[in-house]
Every structure is written in structure tokens, then in C-alpha cells.
């Protein structure tokens, strides 16, 4: 008996109306979710993030060389060649070399020579970037790929 009562409570028209509204909302939501992907293209229109930085022997030892036109510092130590991003991890300003490491002009973050934070608001150290070797022997730094600090390209 309760089954019959329930059928009466939600009538045929109510059910159809509910189904129609449900279908309408579902299709709208699906379309909207598709639309939400609009602001994020499959490929971001950035310039190439990889760039040559010179032959391994030309990289200075125990000092940093700013790669012209890129936000990259390269240097060489006993362990090998490494590259550090010059983009501050706080709010994206470009750090400048200082006697003790790097200073950020925007909000005063300070980093030591290995890119570790020593002061200011930066949440983490400067990114270390992946170094590879191109077929012609020059080294290539990829600004899009970070590596754990202390990763060297062995000479």
C-alpha cells in the first residue's frame, strides 16, 4: 500500500517536470564545465624556456654569470656546472647579485650564494634549473624544469 501512496505523492507530471529540469541543469553544467577550461590553453604561449649558455669551459668558476636576455645565473664549482633561476620565489621580481649572494629589489628577500633564503619574505630558496648538453657541446638551461638544489652537471 505504501508503494501506491508514494506513486501518488510524486505524480507523473511532477516526475517529468523534475526530469526535464534535471536534464536542463545537467546539460548546462556540462557546457559550463567545458567553458571553464577556456582560460587555460593546452599550450601556454610562452617563448622557449630553453637556452644555450655556452661551452662548459667558458662558464666561470666560483662566480656567477648572468645569461643575457634570460633569468638565469650559471656557475661552475668542483662538483660541476649548475644554474640558478634569478626569479625571486616571493613575488617574481628579478634578483640581483650581491656580495653575499643575491638580493631581491622588490621586498628585500636575501639569498646566499647557493640560492638558500637567508632573509626577507621569500618562502623558499631560488630554483635550481636543469642543465643539459646540446649536440654541439654547448650547455642548455631549461627555465621550465627545476631540479633539487645541489644537482650539478658533471664536467
Amino acid at each position: 500500500m505504501s508503494a501506491d501512496d508514494r506513486v501518488k505523492e510524486v505524480g507523473r507530471r511532477d516526475l517529468l517536470s523534475l526530469a526535464a529540469w534535471g536534464a536542463f541543469c545537467a546539460s548546462l553544467a556540462t557546457a559550463m564545465i567545458g567553458m571553464l577550461r577556456l582560460p587555460k590553453p593546452s599550450v601556454l604561449p610562452d617563448p622557449s624556456l630553453k637556452g644555450k649558455v655556452g661551452l662548459p669551459g667558458a662558464i666561470p668558476e666560483e662566480e656567477y654569470r648572468k645569461v643575457p636576455g634570460r633569468n638565469v645565473f650559471v656557475s661552475r664549482s668542483e662538483q660541476g656546472v649548475f644554474a640558478i633561476s634569478s626569479v625571486c620565489t616571493h613575488l617574481g621580481c628579478v634578483v640581483a647579485p650581491a656580495p653575499a649572494g643575491f638580493n631581491c629589489p622588490c621586498h628585500g628577500s636575501r639569498f646566499d650564494a647557493m640560492g638558500r633564503v637567508v632573509g626577507g619574505p621569500a618562502p623558499r630558496g631560488l630554483d635550481w634549473l636543469k642543465v643539459t648538453k646540446a649536440p654541439d657541446g654547448e650547455l642548455v638551461v631549461d627555465e621550465g624544469e627545476t631540479v633539487p638544489p645541489g644537482t650539478y652537471w658533471k664536467v
Binding site: P41, L44, G92, C93, C106, V117
Partner: protein, 511 residues
Amino acid sequence: MEAWKDYVASVKTLPRSVWDSLVRHGAPVTDRSRMETVLQNLFLHIHPTRVHRWSLRWSYSLGLGLICAASFLLLLVTGVLLMFYYKPSTVLAYQSIQDIHYVIPSGRFMRNIHRWGAHIMVVAVILHMARVFYTSSYKKPREMNWVFGLVLLVLTLGLSFSGYLLPWDQLAYWATTIGANIAQSPRELTDALGITPYFDPGGFQKTLLLGSRSVGEEALIRFYVLHIMVLPLLMVVFMGLHFWRIRKDGGLSRPEDADERLGPPGDDALPVFTQAQKKSYGLMAVVRGTSPTVGRGPENTVPAWPHLMTAEAAVFMFTLAITVALSFFFDAPLKEMANPLIPENPAKAPWYFLGLQEIVSFSAFAGGVLLPMLALIGLGLIPYLDREPGGVGYWLGGRDRDKRVFLQSAAFGLAAVIGLEAFAVRFGWLRDWFPGIPQIVITLFNPGTLLTFLYVAYSVWIIRRENSTRLGGIAIFTCLLAGFIILTLIGTYFRGPNWGFYWSPSHWPVH
């Protein structure tokens, strides 16, 4: 021949009949035609036909809401004019602004008005909010209109910020880079929890804003569309809601005894109901008992035409005069063309964000996302948490108690922010003492969050001490205003290269 005579008569009366078909009522010289002047005009009928004399008092509203609307109108007109010459592309944007500045007749003037109008609008919006708060005008039935006002505040700041990038100079580029990275700063939290690879709202927000990894062509066109289309449209919609609600909520707020306090109308007020009134409106809604005309005579209302119209025209002209005067003497800045490799030093956001930038210099997430969100939510909740009746329509309720708490709160708010800032400038902050400290600790404990905690604690204490939520509201709002002003002043005048503290730019090191 009859037809010919009619024809000649029609030609003779042509201007008159065209005018009469445009404006159906006569000249606004009687009460009825004054009413119809307002009521039958699409652009005027957002006004009431009659307005209470309290609403016309300069010392009450200070015309601040109208100044906001007037400056928005100025920005709309000059903005459209600038759009004829501005080219939203990274290659051409800077040159087109230079053209507007140096080549196009009166282009510089238009750009200056656009710049100064934006500053004036931000100032007026903030002052208007303070006026509404200190006269208790957010109280029932005006709660939702206070919230709409907050939406308008956010839209105003959004419009200012999105316009900041368009000149594509150094100032624009680096302020936007900082802004976009603030949008990314929830990573401070997700990094600390180690969930960034799976859940990255910060990165999503930055990509949404810039459409790229860094500020470039995509970012410029996004900011352009936001600035000239999306945000102005939203602005107009919410301004419409805001104005509509003023009328639906019973006009400008006023005290219960406004009629007695005002006394009889002066000689300059147009007489009231000089002739039999024609019913000029229908029953549009069932109003609550707080409606101004229920059970009370309309003695203290005057016709909106001309009283309200002349007052509005005066405010519009005042705004125009100030903006034009500033634009005549002070040019909008234009630095060197944007250079993604060399940041400005110091790189400063527009002045109304410098208070936040001051906190951002401790933690990007706390200063750029957490505290602004908390402040906005807190402000939005004020009318729902303080529901004490009374005191509406007077500055600080017209009570000595409120004035005392206001002064105490201002003193406490100023002392707390100056004390904390002085401490941080003199002794540094956590990372200067413990270099290895994790960022999450600084995100949670920095001068900004501590200040917020002090302010909230103080207002809770006031609620309990004075046994009044309204006084608690006065405490938190006044503290917030004091903090905002002091942090903005420090960020604007006392921060130099590397965000160091300097008493004057003349002490800045050479760099």
C-alpha cells in the same frame, strides 16, 4: 482647404509638438509637473519624486556616494576616448600611450583625467564606506546594500589594478608581476602541506590571470578585456542594484526624530502640496512599518526636482572641477617601457595597495590573500553581527559614549600598527633571528596577522566591556582604518630600494 490650414498650423507648431511628444508634462513649476519631471524620465526616475530634507544635508552624507558615481562617469567618458587610440599589444601599447601623451590634441589631458578620476574614485569609495559605517547606515533594512557597497569597493580596486598594466611601462609591468604572484601565493600554504602537485589553487589563479607563465601579450589582452568590458559592466550592474536598494530601503538613512530636529521647512524650500495631488505612483510593494511615509505626514519632504537635482549637479561639478584642476597641473606618470629582465627598485603597486604590500613584505599569502579576504568577510558580516537598533542617522550615534570608544579605538589602532611596524623595522622579524625557520611559521606569525589578532581581540574586549555590539563594530572598523592608513603611509613614503626603511627618498642609496 481645411486640410491645408491644418497642415500650415502643424508646420508652425512643429517644434512645440515635437518637444511635447518628448516631454509630456509641462514645465516643472507645479508640484505635479515637478513630480512628473522625475517620474517620466528614464534617467531621472531612479530618484524618488520627493526627498527628505535630512537627505539633502551636506554635513550628513558629504555627497561622497555621488562623488563615486560622478568620478565613475568621468572615467567612462575619458576611458572610451582613450580607447580610440590605445592599442593593447605589448609592441604598441607603450607607444600608443606616448602618442596619447605627446601627439594627440588634448590626449594628455584625457589620460590625466582618467588617472586622477581613478584616484578620486578610490578615495571617495573608502570615505563613503566610512560615512555609512559611522552613521550606522548599514543597519536593518540596509544590510544587503552594505554588502553591495563592498562588492563595488572590490570592483573599484579591480578596475584600478587592471588599468595599471595597460601603459606597459616599468611600473605597470612589475606591479602586475607582483599582483599575479600574489594570486599564486596560496602555494605558500600548499607547499608547506606538500600538496601543490595535486591541488594548486595558486597556480590556477595565476594562469587564469596571465594566460601564461609571465606577464606578456596574453596577460595584457586579459587585463584589457577586464578593464574595458567585464569589470565596467559588473560595476554598472551593481551600481544599479546599489541605487535601487537605497530607494527600496527607504531612502538615505536618517534619525527617527529627523522631523523634529529639522523643524519646519525654510523659506527656500518649495511649498509642499500646493495643489490637489494627482496620484503619481502605484503601490509597488508592501512596505514595512519603517517606510518614511507610513503614518506620518510628508511635511519634511521636498520635491526632488529641483532640490535633489541641484544638489547632485553641484556634487558632479565639484568632482569635475577637482579632477580637471589636478589633471591640469599634474601629469599621469609614464616610466620607461616594460623590461622583464630589470625590475623597478623599489617596485611599488598603486598607493591603495601599498598597505597590503607592506604586509606582503613578510608573507605573500598572509598580506595578499588571507588578510584582505578576512577583512572583506568581516566587513560584510558587520550588519549581521551588530543588530543593535538606534543611533541610525547620526555621526557616531550622536552619543558621547560612541565618540569616546571611537577615539580610544583610533588611539589603540594607531599605537598597535605603529608599534609593530617600528619593532619590525628596528629588530627585523623571525627569519632575521632564526634563518632556518619554515615559511609557514612566518605566514602565520607576522606583523599583519598579529595586528589583525590584536584588533579583533580589542573589539571583542570592547563588546564585553561596553556591553554593545555597535561599539565593538566601531572599535574594529576604526582600528582597521587606522591600520590601513598607517601601513599605506609607510609603504608610500618610507620604503625605498629593496623595501628598506628610509625616512626620506633623499636617503636612498645610489643604485
